[in-house]
């Protein structure tokens, strides 16, 4: 399989010489054709900078990248013809209607809505009842759908989605990922970024990005398999003192809030009994200790701790 996107040692600085901030520090990876590739990372990890470099809006300070076989600097014009980009911020014309926006973007890509209607049909049907409404008056989820339609209308071979689900409700998020899965079947390569760890499982492969560095690249299952330590979910009615005790315990490598539980990473295997003994003073406070399978977020926390 030939790669749709290659990224080779990309470095990007911001700010003047005296006050340089490194947004991306030497990133390299490839995205295969037809792959749904996720870039997962907290705010400020460098996701948007990477997207802007790949969509020819920003120049990297070092390194090179290709999209669909074209160099992002030399052949930016070619890339602009075949890439679809949906920025994190809604950036369609708010004073044009849904239909007008779509028609406008179809025209400037030298195509028509009819020609590629099959691509956007499933998504467009959902916003069609509002096609005479101005884009600025749509709800957040609707805006995302319209933006996706506009990014797809010229049948791009690579689709860049920068935090498409940020600020969208849980139901719409789920729907959105369903739509991406369908698009994948059309053999469109999709690069998507998100700060939500739970969305990582929807991707074919993910890259975990933290302060401009890639911590890990693998399939979601692969990343979880890398997590070799024992993990427990612990709760009691006195959560805060419990966390403090866990953090100072010599057998515990890391402990952090996780919803209604604390997740506890042990330093060594098979030490459940030691943990139980250590926490015995909480026995009267409804102590619960369960061994659990790690998820992406646990892996991310562990990787972050390692790089520190």
């Amino acid at each position: 399989m030939k790669p749709a996107i290659t990224i080779n040692n990309i470095v990007k600085f911001y700010g003047a010489k005296s006050n340089k901030t490194e947004a991306l520090s030497g990133i390299s990876f490839n995205v295969n054709e037809g792959e749904l590739f996720g870039i997962i990372g907290p705010d400020g990890a460098g996701k948007t900078s990477l997207f802007r470099i790949l969509t020819t809006l920003l120049l990297a300070d070092e390194g090179e990248a290709t999209v669909d076989g074209y160099d992002v600097v030399k052949y930016y014009k070619e890339i602009r013809k075949r890439a679809g980009y949906m920025p994190g911020r809604f950036s369609l014309y708010q004073d044009l209607t849904v239909e007008e926006n779509l028609e406008f973007f179809a025209t400037i890509f030298n195509t028509t809505i009819e020609k590629n209607y099959h691509l956007i049909k499933d998504i467009y049907i959902q916003i069609e009842p509002f096609k005479k409404r101005k884009a600025g008056k749509l709800s957040g989820g609707m805006k995302q759908k319209l933006a996706l339609c506009c990014a797809l209308i010229h049948k791009p071979s690579v689709l860049f989605l920068d935090e498409p689900t940020t600020g969208v409700d849980a139901v719409s998020r789920k729907e959105f990922w369903e739509m991406l899965k369908k698009l994948k079947q059309q053999n469109i390569t999709i690069l998507v970024s998100t700060p939500y760890m739970d969305e990582a499982g929807m991707c074919d492969r993910v890259a975990l990005l933290q302060s401009g560095k890639i911590l890990s690249i693998d399939t979601p299952d692969g990343i979880i398999e890398q997590f070799q330590k024992d993990l427990f979910a612990v709760r009691s009615s006195k959560m805060l003192p419990l966390l403090n005790d866990l953090k100072i315990c010599s057998e515990v490598e890391d402990a952090y809030f996780f919803g209604a539980y604390h997740h506890v990473v042990m330093k060594h295997k098979n030490e459940e009994q030691q943990l139980k003994n250590y926490l015995s003073k909480y026995a009267g406070d409804g102590l619960e200790i369960n061994a659990i399978r790690p998820n992406i977020e646990d892996c991310f926390m562990a990787l972050m701790k390692n790089t520190e």
Partner: protein, 372 residues
Amino acid sequence: MRSLRFLLQKEFRQIFRNTSILRIIFLMPIIQLLVLPWAADYEMKNINITVIDHDHSPYSRQLISKITASGYFILQDYTSSYNQSLVDIEKDKSDLILEIPASFQKNLIKENESKLFVAVNAINGVKANLGGAYLISIIRNFNGNIRSKWIQFPRFNPELNINVVSSDWYNPEMNYKYFMVPGILVILVTLVGSFLASLNIVKEKEIGTIEQINVTPIKKYQFVLGKLIPFWVLGLIVLGIGLGISRLFYGIISAGNLFVIFGFAAVYLLAVLGLGLLISTYTSTQQQAMLISFFLIMIFVLLGGLYTSIDSMPHWAQMMTKVNPVTYFIEVMRMVVLKGSGFADIKNQFLIMLGFAMVLNGWAVLSYRKRY
């Protein structure tokens, strides 16, 4: 071409959908043209004068009635003490003090000479200047009248008199509206042409839509033309409306051919649109663009010869007016409307404006880097 057509369609749609902008474009020139020419009046009227009369003679009364009858002066106070009259000046009730000495009539008859004292409140320079000049000319006139009354004409005129008769060409009644209205119209066209265009482009930056446009195959020149053409058209429409208003409300009928005006305006608009484009490339928010525009329009107006004559400016300021496109359009407007100049007469201004258009647009296109 198809892309450009669609860009234009989109721009016009957005302009016509934005009712507040539309109202500004069309109502602003109408209201400003109806109001401003009346306010920008050079003739000084309603000058308040305080007269201190120590003489109370028939002559002093005659002089006072002549002053008040002139129509320029309002007799604010009639007192007999200078100190009291100064209070009027201090309270800003009075602009001028005329003091008539006690022996005004006596001296005038006996010694064939008399003195008057005029004090001027110089807080408002224009009013003080003109008021003082008016008053002195009235007094001179009064002087001439009384002399002709008591002096029998000798066979030979003892004094040599040069009588000056002037005639005002191109504006026989010296109606200031005839030259103010075309000038104000120029400012309005400038506003629409450059500042609305720059705000429009900056808005795309601010909202982020330019990001989306930049990842499309649209070319630099297409995007720029798509922005400039609508405002070029709107500028010409505003000019048309303005000329209509000046004809309807001020009876100003252009002495020259309207095609000359529109022809020059077409090139002028290119120049100011280039300026608007330039502003938009150096700013990233509408607020910044607004402030720069505001700064520039002040300079344009005050260094454009609209309110004050360029010839009376210091040399360095005159140099500055040479790089102000507004200067040339105001000049051309006045020449064509009042004098009836044709293309041949405004050839120089036309070429200069063409130069402005090329420099400003070239600079703007260079600094508008769509790619990065």
